[in-house]
Amino acid sequence: MDKTFLILSVELRQAFRGTRGESEKSSQGKRIARNALGYLALISLAIFVGTSVYNIAAALSDTLAAYPDMVRAVWLNLMSGLSLGVFVRLFMTGISVVYQALYDSGDLKFLLSTPTPVGSVVGAKLTVALVRNLAALVPFMYPIWVGYGAGSRAPFSFYFMSILAILLAALLFTAVTAIFAMIVMRNVPTQKMRQVIMIGSLVVGFMFVLATQVLSAKMTRSNGLDATALAQAAQGWGLGRTWYLPHVWVVKTAFLTTPGFGFSLWESLFPLAVAAIGAFVGAIGLSANAFVTGWSAAGDVETGKSGAMRRRRTRKGTGEKAICCELADDAESEMPDTMIRRHTGQGWGIFAKDLTIIKRQPIIWYSILVAIVASGFYLYNMSYGARSGDVGAIPDIMKDVILFVLVMMSTISSGQIAGMCISMDGESLWLLRSMPIDPGTYFNAKMALAVMPGATVFTVLALAMALIPDIPQYPLYLSLPVGYAAISMLGALEVMSDAMRPNFSLRMSGASGTQNQKDPGKSLISLGISMAGTFVLGAAFAFNNYYSHLGFSEGMSRQAAILVGTIAFATIVVAGHAIARSLALASIKRILRGESN
């Protein structure tokens, strides 16, 4: 146990000191500021979510004030759904977190070579995975419980019980996943296991997104997200009745001390705590027999023999004579055509290399898929509105709103690529630095990478939108160039942002132990650029819709307002490009010269 805490204390110390290593000469002040900004964004999001739920809870309580039992039933069902959401959220990210903590940590080799019991090592690693899972869960889930508690005047103990329920849910999930992983790792080769884990969690996550979108679409058809619609939807679910499911234990634990619900300890906290702690102890117990064998298998090199280029093995060249003979035997075998060599030149080489790497990252395609599905539902909802005849009341500004929502969706979908297009070179930074690469060519290649996915998604969405009749929209000859201009500028800003603050500890391949595949700070910055940038560009382009409400332009003609809006939009795009290019180039020069890590 002492050794478990010892390992944990080292892990925590590492976490607090960051992952960027000695080579980064960033000052402590900057690091603190960066962390503070990230926390501020998270807190803002939590407050937004909590306040929204508070409003719904208060509205529901007011609407159904005469029926307190019904209100409780509604909330019980809603919170059951939310508890299920806790597990779904864990499925989305938690499996890979547990797998990486147990089998991909770079320090495992060292730890297992010391006289530390395997159980202590696994216990520490599982605790780290638990903390990471909680960190991914609490900022998004707990504010909902808090919002409900405040809106329905729940007792103080509710806040404690709800966080305890989330903690135990995460513990149960982490431990059960670890048991599952340890059993599977004994038998399944590493690469396949990774694929199973990745695809499995993505499928669950995708289904979750799909389900929420269907619900959202359904709500839209019920005249939006009002309290009555929520109540009707929730009562239909009846999720609270299945007593044997863990998410039901979670919701009952949260409501255990809340008056009126009447749950007993034996149907709530007791089974949840026993299952969670039992699974955790079981995982540690199992590790003594199952972990080391599985971990050794995880380190095996894949030696599959499939592929287009299998050849008879060449004999080993171990001397000068062998070298000469082997080199004389050239140009015999055919090599596969690769995208990288399809064209020549540095710019194409960098772009094609990046695209090849990204092509092999399921997580990136997943985010693009989610954005397309979300946009698809948005279009679906719009078409419903159009067919129901509501569009007659929609002002002209809807054309601009629709156009720029598509722009925003497209840039958000490609944000994971654009926002880390330079950081992804941290994997082999030494190579790029030692090559005669022109910074301008490098920037152009990264720009192409940053803009291409968003532009593709936008094209698909715009073409789909054009097929839907009666929706207020600009013709394609106008919407496409405007969209591309906006997306290219936002892409340039994202490249600039990544060039100025690259995170070279990111590893696209997720290989080699403890290296990160994600940077939450970068994701937030990317999201901020997409949303704020789209808003600014949209506001400029849509000037002709609101100019008459502004003091300085109220006397302007509509034609003049359209001209002003167009010029403002074009100016922002050009200036954005110029600034982004200039700042990015300065940073890229520093990076390639080794002045910035």
């Binding site: 000068e320 080199l327 090599m335 060599r341 020549t344 080489g349 082999s428 190579l431 010269r593």
Partner: protein, 277 residues
């Protein structure tokens, strides 16, 4: 056909022309002086060994010489090209093998070599022919379409060495080139380096394997705590050691003896006395 004429048609450099010229090279990280006024001059076709204890400043020096780390003071010229003033031109004539083969794990070996060829703007047909030959030479041809993430450390190291040779560099910088290689591959690398040198390529390598340095290098430089302690061939080093006066028979000493004497002889003597009780 000899190796060099197939793989590396190096420009006819005269052996006495200066290919690496480091002048007063200094690097300071905060309060730490990593490299202190390093002066080094290496000629064409020379194999130069750069030795020193761990943390002596070898990798930092190499990084400054190849233009991936900006010196605090001093300058480097590679084949007469100032690295700071014209880094692209300088980088175009070098090949670099780092101490850790960190490469794109989602690319195959073939894709990686083609990528490097593109960065050096090597003509397509020539690049493919060379890449194929290098992969074959390193016994990787039948695994060339596997992603590098599945390669062992030694295999990655071989891919990196192949990538450094792809564009016929005039100067080859190698930071611990034989670490992680099996004996056969290590021997192959040594053969290649000798062949390259005979063709006029300058090889600058850091290593901890003193036997390799002694047998292969025309000259060695020994660095400690950022300062160059000695530079020259074995006889030159023996003279320096003799001048220190601590060695009984410097004329019969090996590079290992000289290295220990020059970098920490007194410390080792302490340890020896301690072990003897």
């Amino acid at each position: 056909m000899p190796f060099g004429t197939v793989i590396l048609k190096v420009a006819a450099n005269r052996r006495d022309s200066l290919m690496i010229n480091a002048l007063g090279l200094t690097k300071r990280f905060g309060d730490t002086l990593a490299v202190d006024s390093l002066d080094l001059h290496v000629g064409a076709g020379e194999i130069f060994g750069f030795l020193g204890p761990n943390g002596a400043g070898k990798t930092t020096s190499i990084n400054m010489m190849i233009g991936i780390l900006t010196p605090t003071a001093g300058r480097v010229e590679l084949a007469g090209i100032d690295v700071a003033k014209d880094p692209l031109k300088a980088k175009a004539i070098i090949g670099y093998v780092p101490d850790q083969p960190n490469i794109y794990e989602k690319l195959t070996a073939w894709e990686f070599l083609m990528f490097v060829a593109n960065l050096h703007e090597v003509e397509r047909g020539r690049a493919e022919k060379k890449a194929r030959n290098l992969l074959k030479m390193f016994d990787l041809l039948d695994r060339a379409d596997e992603q590098l993430g599945g390669y062992s450390h030694g295999m990655k190291q071989k891919v990196v060495i192949a990538s450094a040779l792809l564009h016929e560099p005039k100067i080859l910088f190698m930071d611990e080139p034989t670490v992680g290689l099996d004996p056969g591959s290590a021997r192959l690398v040594k053969d290649i380096l000798r062949e390259l040198a005979s063709e006029g390529v300058t090889v600058f390598m850091s290593t901890h394997v003193l036997e390799i340095a002694e047998r292969m290098c025309d000259r060695v430089g020994i660095i400690q705590k950022g300062r160059l302690l000695a530079v020259g061939n074995m006889d030159d080093l023996r003279e320096v050691a003799a001048a220190k006066g601590a060695m009984k028979h410097p004329e019969a000493s090996t590079l290992e003896d000289l290295f220990i004497e020059l970098t920490g002889g007194s410390d080792y003597a302490e340890v020896s006395r301690y072990l003897e009780g």
